[in-house]
């Protein structure tokens, strides 16, 4: 009877999560490694380039990372996380609905770095530094936009998305 109950629990666990398949023949304690859930949250700053007056000549505008937005990654101490992000296309579509004129787009190229100044490319890994029971990493995000000579005026907006994973 006892063996039957044991078997029942193993089947129950196996059917609920495929990740458990690896432990059916070993001790259940082998995967009870509680990992701090991963999170990334904005702390301060923004990615607002402000007002730029069009002059009819091309220009490049930059927000350096430490003048941009600060994010904090929290997770398991000393675990490596992979950081991914993409370029963002900004457009003035909402603005021209109100005021008229031509639609334009601008590409935002992010510039991401760690607090120690190390540059991060999308897909890079970084270790979460231990702070008490947690692992933490702070990232600064700035970036660059190129404004064309014939760039239509308006309020340009876009959403920068940054992801982290174990």
């Amino acid at each position: 009877m006892k063996r039957a109950i044991n078997l029942f629990f193993f089947i129950f666990l196996f059917s609920c999560n495929h990740s458990f398949a690896q432990i059916t023949s070993t001790s259940a304690r082998g995967f009870a490694n509680l990992i701090v859930p991963l999170s990334i949250t904005p702390l301060s700053g923004d990615l607002d380039f402000g007002e730029i007056i069009l002059t009819g000549t091309p220009s490049t505008e930059t927000i350096s990372p430490h003048e941009g937005k600060l994010f904090e990654i929290v997770g398991h101490p000393n675990r490596f996380v992979t950081i991914t992000f993409d370029d963002v296309q900004l457009d003035n579509s909402q603005w021209i609905l109100i005021y008229g004129g031509n639609m334009g787009t601008i590409i935002f190229v992010p510039d991401v770095e760690l607090e120690n100044g190390k540059k991060i490319q999308s897909g890079d890994s970084a270790r979460l530094m231990r702070e008490g029971l947690l692992g933490k990493l702070r990232l600064w995000v700035g970036g660059t936009i190129d404004i064309a000579a014939n760039q239509p005026p308006g309020d340009y907006r876009g959403l920068f998305v940054i992801s982290v994973s174990y």
Binding site: N6, F9, F12, L13, C16, N17, S19, F20, A28, R29, F31, A32, L34, I35, P37, L38, S39, I40, T41, P42, D46, L47, D48, F49, E51, I52, I53, L54, T55, E61, K69, F71, I73, L90, Y99, G100, G101, N102, G104, I106, F108, V141, G143, I145, I147, P152, P153, G154, D155, Y156, R157, G158, L159, F160, V161, I162, S163, V164, S165, Y166
Partner: protein, 167 residues
């Protein structure tokens, strides 16, 4: 029994563990591109013509709708600061002595290109660039007056009147 409790505990702790191996957040990127400011003359001039000196002081006046009309264009629904000041008119042959003073009178008619419902624009005040299909515009009219003193001498008097707009 203790063993079953551990199995059940593992089940409930393991699910959230595997569900939170990724995280994501986002930030809004903003930039406001402003159309550059322009002032373009539409018509008119500030030529007061010939005045015959009569030995007494006299004031000659040019009404704004008889003077110069400009259009200020820029970013729609954006305010711009307009500045100007009185202008000295001098005779080049007289080394700038005994100048005349031109006191400008500046009015605006908003988006109306015609002189309809004008309002006074003081130097240092703001004007609204009214939206016209993605372009902000305001029409400005400039006239003014010149005080001619009894001792003013005959000759051609000239000066440059400057109107400035800025965001």
């Amino acid at each position: 029994m203790k063993k079953y409790f551990i199995y059940i505990l593992l089940y409930f702790t393991a699910l959230p563990l595997f569900a939170q191996k990724e995280a994501q957040t986002s930030a809004l990127i903003k930039v406001k591109l402003l159309k550059g400011l322009n002032i373009t003359k539409i018509k008119g001039n500030l030529d007061f013509g010939e005045v015959i000196l009569n030995g007494d002081g006299q004031k000659i006046i040019k009404q704004p709708d008889e003077g110069i009309e400009f259009v200020v264009s820029g970013h729609p629904n954006k305010e711009a600061i307009i500045t100007y000041k009185p202008t000295l008119l001098t005779q080049s042959s007289n080394h700038g002595s005994n100048p005349l003073i031109f006191l400008p009178a500046v009015l605006q008619t908003g988006v109306n290109i015609n002189f309809v419902s004008p309002s006074v624009v003081k130097s240092g005040s703001t004007i609204l660039l009214n939206n016209q299909n993605g372009i902000g515009k305001t029409f400005i009219w400039v006239g003014g007056d010149i005080d001619i003193k009894p001792q003013s001498t005959e000759g051609n008097y000239e000066g440059i009147f400057t109107l400035t707009v800025a965001y």
